[in-house]
Each structure stands twice: as structure tokens, then as C-alpha cells.
């Protein structure tokens, strides 16, 4: 394979790492039955704060720590208002996402455009020499390696551990989890904050590595959080599929950049923005099988074609945890 393409694809894996974190974080939260809509603002605020912290203290780890704490605290607000105060998760999440975004731009003013620390690449000895795979997977930085580990661990946690099964349970049917001994609301708090912390890590991953620095409104981070939310749905609340969604999005973004010189007639903005509507379109494909009119339309088709289309739609179809967004009370 052409080395340029290979390096480009390696870049796609790297660029997707923060989105992987954010979308898997949201996956944990939503699996527990809570929707945290604050993702977009949280990423911006933690990106700014993580960058500022590292800049001031010259300590990268502290930057990530601050990012995670911000994410967890915002998530705590969502959890408190929806679980304890029984407020609308959508309204609270929406307000928080706007607030944290404005806060990021406002507080980040003094750090704008400054050159700060960034994560160094870390080539893995021996493995990096494997043809193709070496360039793709083993000449990355620690963030990318961590994102690979996160995918595997979260998949294992949700589907293979006792705790993970319980997590599925509290999002699916909290009453059934409750009779099995789960402290539903405590677990919901816990997973919302864990998910929030993962989302919060995505911020410094951008500002300390993928898009190093803080450039205020032109950082190009605004909107990523909404895409992460869409990817969570695209991925059917399944970490591996969610990660694939993140890679698809990063790939589309990269293609936009690569194709730009050969498509001079199309304004560059179109190619930059195209991945966003494209992701929404894929979402449509995933969920269209759930629509009643599709079922009706299918029923009118000739039998062989109907079977095939139905099968394809079923394979792509995802369904959310049944109690997503529904508060739990045991009386």
C-alpha cells in the first residue's frame, strides 16, 4: 500500500481516539439508562481547562486529570437533577452543554493561541516494524493505545462481567435489576460519572494531542460532541460498533481533506462540513428499520425482495436500552 495512504489512515485512527472515548463514555451512561446531552460542551470545557492546566503546570497528566474531573462533575449535575430531583434529562443536559461551551470560550480567552505541551509519539519497539500494521497501529501516541485498550475493556466489561450484565439490566428494566439486588440509582450515579469522566478525557486528548492548543471558537471542536452522541446510537450501545462509528467519522473527515485539492469546484467548507450530515445519514440507515411506514412499505414488496431487505435492515437495526431516560422508583 502507498505509504502516504497508510500514514493517513494511521492519522484517522489517531484523530478518532477522542471521539472513541467520548462515545464509549456516553455508551456507559446510556446503558445505565441516563442520557447525558452535555457531551459537546463538556469536551470544549475540558479541552480548554486541560490545556490551560498543562500549560501552567507543565504537567500533561494533570491536564488529563482536570479534564476527567470536569466531565465527571458535569455528569454529576446531570445525574443529580435527573435521578434525585427527577428533572428532564434532556433539558438539563442541553442547558449544561450550552453553559459549559460558553464557559470554555470565556475562560479560555487568555490561553488562546499559546503554544503548550503536547503528547509525544511513542513507537512500540519490534511491533512497529511489522509491515502495514506497524505503521497503522504501533507508531502512535499513548492516547491512541489507550483508546484501543478502552474499546476492548469496555466491550468485555459490558458483555462478560457480572457488573456489566447488571449495568445492562438497570438500563433495560430497572425494576428487574432491583429485585436482583441492584441499587439502581447508586449504579446510575456511578456510571453517569464514569461516562462523564471518559467524555471529559476526550477534551485534553484534542487539546494536548490531536488538535494541540486552544484556539477558542476556531478550535474546530464544536459539534464533535453531538457527533459522539450520534455515534453512540449508530453503534447500538456496543463499544466495538461505537468505535467503528468513530473511525468512520474520522475517515470521512480525512477524505474531505484529501479530496479537497482534486475537487477545486467544491468550496472547502462543504467538504469540511460534509462528514456531519453523512454521519446523520448513516444513523438513518441504522434506524430506518424501526419505522412503521417502512414496515408497511416492506409488506407491499414481492416476497423474495422483502425477505432480503428485511434481513439487511434487521442486521443493522439497533435498539436503545428500554428504560433510557426513564427515572426509576420502586413504588
Amino acid at each position: 500500500m502507498d505509504n502516504n495512504i497508510l500514514v493517513g489512515l494511521a492519522g484517522v485512527l489517531a484523530a478518532a481516539a477522542p471521539v472513541v472515548f467520548a462515545a464509549i463514555g456516553e455508551t456507559f451512561t446510556e446503558r445505565a439508562g441516563i442520557i447525558n446531552l452535555s457531551v459537546n460542551g463538556t469536551i470544549l470545557l475540558s479541552a480548554m481547562a486541560g490545556f490551560a492546566t498543562s500549560l501552567v503546570t507543565n504537567n500533561l497528566i494533570l491536564g488529563f486529570l482536570v479534564g476527567a474531573i470536569i466531565g465527571a462533575l458535569v455528569a454529576l449535575l446531570v445525574a443529580f437533577s435527573s435521578i434525585t430531583l427527577k428533572q428532564s434529562q434532556v433539558a438539563v443536559g442541553f442547558v449544561l452543554t450550552l453553559m459549559t461551551r460558553d464557559l470554555a470560550y470565556f475562560l479560555g480567552n487568555s490561553f488562546m493561541g499559546q503554544a503548550g505541551p503536547r503528547i509525544p509519539p511513542l513507537n512500540i519497539p519490534l511491533l512497529q516494524d511489522i509491515p502495514i500494521l506497524g505503521t497503522l497501529f504501533f507508531k502512535q501516541d499513548i492516547i491512541v493505545y489507550t483508546s484501543f485498550i478502552l474499546i476492548v475493556v469496555s466491550q468485555w466489561w459490558i458483555f462478560s462481567t457480572r457488573q456489566g450484565l447488571l449495568l445492562q439490566g438497570i438500563g433495560e428494566r430497572p425494576a428487574a435489576a432491583f429485585v436482583r439486588g441492584a441499587n439502581v440509582n447508586k449504579l446510575r450515579y456511578l456510571y453517569t460519572m464514569l461516562g462523564g469522566a471518559l467524555v471529559g478525557l476526550a477534551g485534553p486528548m484534542f487539546s494536548l494531542s490531536v488538535k494541540a492548543g486552544w484556539k477558542g471558537t476556531i478550535s474546530g471542536l464544536d459539534g464533535i460532541g453531538w457527533i459522539a452522541l450520534a455515534i453512540t446510537i449508530f453503534g447500538g450501545w456496543n463499544p466495538v460498533r461505537v468505535a467503528l462509528g468513530a473511525y468512520l467519522f474520522a475517515l470521512l473527515q480525512w477524505l474531505g481533506l484529501v479530496l479537497q485539492p482534486s475537487l477545486p469546484n467544491i468550496p472547502s467548507q462543504v467538504l469540511q462540513v460534509a462528514p456531519f450530515p453523512l454521519m446523520i445519514l448513516t444513523l438513518l440507515l441504522v434506524n430506518i428499520g424501526n419505522a412503521e411506514w417502512v414496515e408497511r412499505w416492506l409488506a407491499g414488496m414481492p416476497a423474495p425482495l422483502r425477505r432480503v431487505v428485511a434481513k439487511v435492515l434487521r442486521a443493522m437495526r439497533t435498539s436503545p436500552p428500554a428504560s433510557l431516560g426513564v427515572p426509576f422508583e420502586n413504588e
Binding site: 457480572r162 450484565l165 447488571l166 439490566g169 433495560e172 428487574a176 429485585v179 441492584a182 414496515e295 435498539s319
Partner: protein, 489 residues
């Protein structure tokens, strides 16, 4: 295990759901609990199993006082409860359902769980595939799974709240066998039901509840009329069946073909007369629900025709069917029929299409009050529907239906209702038939099917029987057809 309940008291707001109930159940007993809708049976069972807490009262197990705050603690003490609808996780596999909430390390040992499941299944003659998804099981199998899970966790007191609604006749016999075996092994079984004949054949003793109080106990031999009198304070009799005379077809189905992911049924033909009642029988998931939804326009058939009043409505939406006089009453009252969080008055406002833009609250409250009186709903206009007991939800649902319907499609019209309410609901339905309405209903209660239908269609394994004359069919014949015996291929 011997269970003693002493002076259990529970209020829900102004409702006195349990009024100082005291009862003792010796080990090895199957205790039946009877009572009208809203009598407080489920409340007491939920208190015993830790799902809710009593305001006051004492629970003793084998003479020792215990405090039960959660279902988890209840199962630690050996008390397991099977809820009215199985509390499990439909999209998960059977083994995963089994291990959720079981004690043990981080990664559950599924092999061990499967082995334990196999052993228990052999003991009771159940056949559930450990790798199947729970949503593909029948209600009866899900119930079996719950029983096995509770036994696996060490339950020695088993509470069953209306376990026989929604399961087939053969599954019911198997369930009863299982319960008898368990009792013979010294377990205590508490069996809540509205079906007198079941309680009578199964239970060693019966307690009767009325309006939150225990009003009497009985031991075999039982006298049915006495039990009914204890439950309702008066005698109740079934009214006679009155077949309709001439046929004036209202609803016609020609070569209908319906299909979903699991099932394909071809060539259903049926002509329903004005004033006729058609019962749809079959094990849960045999296609009767899909058929009924097709008659309502909620599902589009893949072939054939649905004709209402000489108008072909195939492929049209529910709105067109409604316009033609068809109404559909779903089984899942709280999911599809009623709206949680809205009061009775608000339901009537929605259902009755008031004139004008602004809601006339006073008129709505007045209408609601009238309906509450007319349908004997135990609740107030401002009561939220989810706080009504199951029987009262069903009454409310019926009260909400339009009066001017020609075709009434009903899923499980009396599921979970006490005998008085069932008879009462059917008297209302029959009165509508007298006025010319046609009813097609699904039921898993054979007696109900035979008593109230004029003709019955049996669904089994993707096939539909010819319409049977309900007057000349016996319970045994119908049970065999539902089980697939004698169904022509």
C-alpha cells in the same frame, strides 16, 4: 419454611391497601389468596418479598423475626417472588438473565450456571435453551425461568402473583405439578389468583381478602359459592349465552397472509356477522395478536384482503380503520392503552374530542365522574392511571372506548380481573353486541373463550383452524387444538 405475618399495615396516600393483616402459613403448604381487584393482595406480597415496605407490622420466618428492606434481603432469607409479569431482561440471553444479580466474582461462571439450570430443568421437566434470548420465549417459559432462578438462589418460600394469566393450559398443568413437588419438599408456596377453579384444585388452604382486610379462611373441601360470597359479599352467577340469529357480515377477511420475523400465516378466511363474538385462541405468540392487529390496520398484511362494511381497507392505516368503525383495545394497559402520568379526567379529555380549542375542565370532570360511577372504577377523577389496580385500569380502558363502534378488537379483555369484574365487563361487551357491535378478542382463558364467543379460531404453529362453534366444543377439545393436536396440516 413457616411464614408468619403479624399486623401488617400499609397506606398509599388515603388508600388503606393492607389493614392490619395477620396470617400464618406452615411449611410445606400451598396457600391460596383470593380477593377482588384492589383488595391488597399484591401489596401484601410485595411487602413480604421486600419490594415495598409496610408502615408497621412484623414478619417472622420459622419463628424468628426478620427485617426485609429489599428484594435482595428477601431472597437471602429464602423468600422469592414471581411478579405478575416476569421481571426479566428480554434482550438478554437466558444464562445472562440467570447470572445477573447472583453472588460471585467479577466474571460469572456461565458453565456452572448452565449446568445448574440443566439439573433443575430435569427435575421439573422444563426445556429452556440456555442460549436463547429471553424475548423469544413464551410467557410461560419466562415464568419457568424465574422459578428456576429463584430456586437456584435458594428460595424456600415462593410467592406467585397471578401466575396463570398468559400461559397455556399445558404449561399451567406443569406449573401446578412443580408447585406440588416444591411443597412436598417442605417449601412454602403462596399463590395469588382470580381463578377459583385453579385455587381450589391446587391450594391446601385459602385466605380471602376484601378491601385491604383478610375476611376469611377456608380449607378443603371448598364450596365455590361460599368463596365467592366471602370475596364480594354476595352471590354471583354467570349469565346464559345467547347466540345471534341471522348473519349480516360486517368484517370479511379473504386469503389474508400475515408475516413477522418468526411467523408466516397464509390464507386466513373469515366472515364475521353483526353482533357476533369471535374468540382467538392459541399459545402466546402463535399469530393471533398479529392477526388482530391486521384487522385494526396496525400491521399491514403481505397478502389478501380486509373488508369492513364492503369497503376494502387492506393496507390502510389505523386512522382509516377507525373511521370505518373499528376500535382496538390493547392488552398492555399501561404501555399502549393508558398514559402513565395522566389523570382519569385527562384521559377522558383526550378520548372524547371536545369541541373548541380550550378544554372545558368542569365538563370533563363531570363526564369522568359519570363514567366512574357507571363503570364502578375505584378511583377519583384526579387519580393517575398508574395508581389504579389492574382491574380498575381495565374498567377505565373500556370506559374510554367510543360508544359508536361497529367492530371492537380486544386483547385479553379480562386478564387479571376478578370474577365479578370479568362478568361485569362481559355484560357491558355483550350489551354492545346487542346494539350491533361485533367483537373479536384474544384470550388464553379457555373458559372465557368457550363461554363468551360464538365461534373460535385456533392458532397453532403458523396455521389457523376453521372457525369452531363454541357451543359444541369442550374445554378439552379446545386445549388439545391449542396444543397442536388434531390441527390439520
Amino acid at each position: 419454611m413457616k411464614v408468619e405475618l403479624q399486623q401488617i399495615d400499609k397506606h398509599f396516600g388515603s388508600v388503606h391497601a393492607n389493614d392490619h393483616i395477620t396470617m400464618t402459613i406452615p411449611a410445606g403448604t400451598i396457600q391460596g389468596i383470593l380477593g377482588e381487584n384492589g383488595a391488597g393482595k399484591s401489596t401484601l406480597m410485595k411487602i413480604l418479598s421486600g419490594f415495598i415496605q409496610a408502615d408497621s407490622g412484623v414478619i417472622k420466618l420459622d419463628g424468628k423475626k426478620v427485617v426485609i428492606h429489599t428484594p435482595d434481603q428477601a431472597i437471602h432469607h429464602g423468600i422469592g417472588m414471581l411478579h405478575q409479569d416476569p421481571l426479566d431482561f428480554p434482550p438478554m440471553r437466558v444464562v445472562d438473565n440467570l447470572v445477573v444479580g447472583s453472588p460471585g466474582g467479577l466474571v460469572p461462571n456461565k458453565k456452572e450456571a448452565i449446568a445448574a439450570l440443566k439439573k433443575l430443568q430435569e427435575r421439573f421437566g422444563f426445556q429452556i435453551d440456555p442460549d436463547a434470548y429471553v424475548e423469544t420465549l413464551t410467557v410461560g417459559e419466562r415464568q419457568q425461568l424465574e422459578i428456576l432462578r429463584l430456586l437456584w438462589l435458594g428460595a424456600r418460600v415462593l410467592i406467585l402473583d397471578e401466575p396463570t394469566t398468559g400461559i397455556s393450559a399445558s404449561q399451567r398443568l406443569k406449573l401446578f405439578d412443580t408447585l406440588r413437588k416444591l411443597a412436598a419438599d417442605g417449601m412454602t408456596v403462596i399463590f395469588v389468583s382470580h381463578k377459583l377453579e385453579e385455587v381450589e384444585v391446587l391450594c391446601h388452604r385459602i385466605a380471602v381478602f376484601q378491601r385491604g382486610r383478610m375476611v376469611g379462611e377456608a380449607k378443603p373441601p371448598y364450596v365455590t359459592t361460599k368463596l365467592v360470597e366471602m370475596m364480594f359479599g354476595k352471590a354471583i352467577t354467570l349469565d346464559e349465552r345467547a347466540p345471534c340469529a341471522t348473519c349480516d357480515p360486517v368484517l370479511k377477511v379473504e386469503h389474508l397472509e400475515v408475516e413477522d420475523t418468526r411467523l408466516h400465516i397464509c390464507d386466513i378466511n373469515l366472515e364475521v356477522c353483526r353482533g357476533e363474538v369471535i374468540g382467538l385462541a392459541g399459545m402466546e405468540g402463535s399469530g393471533q395478536r398479529m392477526f388482530l392487529r391486521t384487522l385494526a390496520g396496525l400491521t399491514r398484511p403481505v397478502g389478501g384482503k380486509v373488508i369492513v362494511h364492503d369497503k376494502t381497507l387492506t393496507g390502510k392505516t389505523y386512522a382509516s380503520f377507525r373511521k370505518a368503525g373499528v376500535t382496538y383495545v390493547p392488552a398492555s394497559r399501561l404501555e399502549e392503552g393508558l398514559i402513565s402520568g395522566l389523570s382519569l379526567t385527562e384521559h377522558f379529555i383526550l378520548a372524547r374530542e371536545q369541541k373548541g380549542f380550550i378544554i372545558n375542565r368542569d365538563a370533563a370532570v363531570k363526564e369522568t365522574e359519570e363514567n366512574i360511577d357507571q363503570f364502578f372504577i375505584r378511583g377519583k377523577p384526579e387519580t393517575h392511571v398508574e395508581a389504579l389496580s389492574g382491574g380498575n385500569q381495565q374498567r377505565a380502558l373500556l370506559a374510554l372506548q367510543r360508544q359508536d363502534v361497529d367492530v371492537l378488537l380486544i386483547e385479553h379483555p379480562t386478564r387479571g380481573l376478578d370474577i365479578e369484574s370479568s362478568i361485569w365487563i362481559w355484560s357491558k361487551l355483550k350489551a354492545r353486541c346487542q346494539l350491533g357491535a361485533t367483537i373479536v378478542f384474544i384470550s388464553s382463558d379457555l373458559e372465557e373463550l368457550l363461554h363468551y364467543s360464538d365461534r373460535i379460531l385456533v392458532f397453532f404453529g403458523g396455521k389457523v383452524s376453521e372457525p369452531l362453534d363454541a357451543g359444541t366444543t369442550t374445554v378439552d377439545q379446545l386445549g388439545q387444538l391449542i396444543g397442536g393436536l388434531g390441527m390439520k396440516s
